[in-house]
Point group: C2
Chain length 384, copies 2
């Protein structure tokens, strides 16, 4: 096990009716900005629950944060924060609204050009405090300090992180997710699954507890994911999906172990260039990464085959092949296709992605930092 | 899954050489009190590492915190905190030193008789901030807000809890535990294992991720515990034991599920009355609880038998019997005996414990709050 530091001060309020606790959770007397997306929260009752809980507070609103939140949109919110001297941000939505609000929080206190936080890893030294009401189990943004932001003008999509953008609290009421479209639930299951694989499917690092925690999330997603798709209003299976998605990327399972993240970084390019949903890109890229990297990941792929998929018979190569096949089948079973052609994306995207990575000098993806543009081409060739 | 709240802001610094990071972890310029036990930290080099890291700080010391930390001792430390206007406490030791320091932190800021925090659940409204350097993997005190304090004068042992006594940080360097006596390592393994069982072996609550996380810790303790006893200086197995012990009682696996804690509450009486080590009491009481409560815990005992001990053959009652037997054998295998007679304790202790519980009106132990003094007698009758 490698040395690690762990600090996650997000307060989680989980379960039925927890949105009412907003009243005590937001700072008394603070000028609040509630951020949200396209307005689905007005149709499913979440907006009303939030506003009822915030009665008596000074509340402004900023709506229209899109999937793959755009820098251009978020900078309009930054102007609101400055103009109205906002003291606390409340993100109400899924990962895009949460990520976008984290960027608003940092950008509003940033001296200089906020795009540098994303493009140049400029350090975040201050942020407006924020909280969250989650409406879509997927990204884990409710309990971590990461965010991924897009720029429409340049078709770019970059991550940033800072402990200063940890939500002070996150409210997770599984009931408010019952009305989500199946496409978003399926994407969320794939996203959570992929978050675990990025931290688990690397090479052995003498960290058996982290391995078993990761396998616990994978097994529970495989068990509960199809149940919640078949019966969206079943509280328990939806609650279990929600908690899996949060635990998949709150830092815990990645402590002291190598991490990959190739699939996410390549997937971001596919979203930026071709507009695929984030979950769709992961379903396309992950099986391809596993095929291309099956020697580098051999020991963990065998462990994954045995412990997650229960594959005990056959030669090692057969077990690995079957585990990768099962992964693909699982993604498809929750409604997320796993080939670029399923999304009408032509093979020339492979070269486009590779060239963009090369232009940025990103030649060190993967748990061994040995994946560059050429290796990405090889990976994507398995995803056509 | 039941509703839950989770908030754990302890910063963990885990791994080789992390004690040097104390320099940046304690508040600059604060008057510090370093608390420790009998002085083993002076023999194993931990004291020197701590003092080197704290060079330049204003440091006082309070030593002599005993196993099962005594109220009488801790109140002497409270007097030091007040007299020297201490602003930060640094606990260096195992669970007893950490628990004792949490009580010092709360008692030094308590208006009234601090014993009421323990005996009357008086609320803790303020506490001196504290940090910890852990030297014994066992109690999880390094990442929770619980403490258990004894009173020598009245042979009592009571728990208290408050988010105000969360350590600001805890440093866990597995290397400093290499020189621990096997008895303490074995007790620690049993303690961590019992912490998991108290939160897991109850009744099903539609919380499959919490179940699998609990099983992950149990499986890893079964795998790594004997390894670290056989080879105390093997870094990886000791590191894995340390991380299991921390995760066993930092709140995570108990979220949204019923909890028992009968074994701990009865065990505290055995320590208070007969002086058994905490780990010894758990090894004695837990198998007895499982025997007495095997109908109430039937579904989870079967799950435990299958998933933790790999018992798939035989009738249900046989599986349960075997799982309880395996638990007993595991405790014995790490050097902790499981019968009262092994510790020279006569059967009359059963009535003494039962009478004490009755006198305090504690009739609501267990995950269904249906265990009173009579049931405790029945339990302890299996432990002779």
């Amino acid at each position: 096990m490698e040395n690690f530091e762990f600090f996650n001060p997000v307060k989680i309020l989980f379960g039925k009716g927890q949105i009412a606790k907003l009243r005590g959770a937001v700072p008394a007397g603070a000028r609040l900005l509630v951020t949200y997306g396209s307005g689905s929260i007005k149709r499913n009752g979440v907006y009303d629950q939030v506003m009822a809980a915030l009665e008596g507070h000074t509340v402004s609103e900023f709506s229209g944060i899109e999937p793959n939140p755009a820098y251009e949109t978020l900078m309009k919110a930054v102007a609101v924060v400055k103009r109205e001297r906002i003291e606390f941000l409340l993100a109400v939505g899924g990962g895009s609204v949460l990520d976008g609000t984290k960027f608003i929080a940092a950008a509003a206190r940033f001296e200089g050009e906020p795009w540098d936080i994303l493009a140049k890893h400029a350090p975040v030294n201050a942020a407006v405090p924020l909280g969250a009401v989650l409406t879509l189990p997927a990204t884990g943004s409710e309990m971590n300090f990461f965010a991924v932001i897009s720029r429409a003008g340049t078709q770019e999509k970059f991550p940033f992180s800072s402990p200063l953008v940890y939500p002070k609290f996150s409210i997770i009421d599984p009931q408010v997710t019952f009305t989500l479209p199946a496409r978003q639930v399926g994407n969320g299951i794939v996203d959570a699954f992929a978050h675990v694989l990025e931290q688990y499917l690397t090479y052995p690092a003498n960290a058996p507890l982290q391995d078993r925690f990761a396998e616990s999330i994978l097994l529970t997603l495989i068990e509960e994911g199809p149940k919640t798709l078949a019966n969206p209003a079943d509280y328990n299976s939806r609650a279990n999906l929600c908690w899996c998605a949060t635990m998949a990327l709150n830092g815990l399972i990645g402590l002291g172990v190598p991490q990959d993240w190739t699939t996410h970084m390549v997937g971001h390019e596919l979203t930026a260039l071709r507009g695929l949903d984030h979950g769709q890109t992961l379903a396309v890229v992950f099986p391809a990464v596993l095929i291309e990297r099956k020697q580098a990941k051999r020991a963990k792929l065998l462990q994954y085959a045995e412990r997650v998929w229960g594959i005990h018979a056959g030669a090692e190569d057969e077990k690995i092949h079957q585990a990768i096949q099962n992964t693909r089948t699982f993604f498809e079973s929750v409604g997320v296709k796993t080939r670029l052609k399923d999304y009408g994306v032509a093979p020339n995207v492979v070269e486009s992605v590779s060239k963009r990575l090369a232009a940025r000098g990103w030649t060190t993806l993967g748990e061994r930092q040995d994946i560059g543009p050429k290796e990405v081409e090889a990976i994507l060739s398995h995803s056509l």
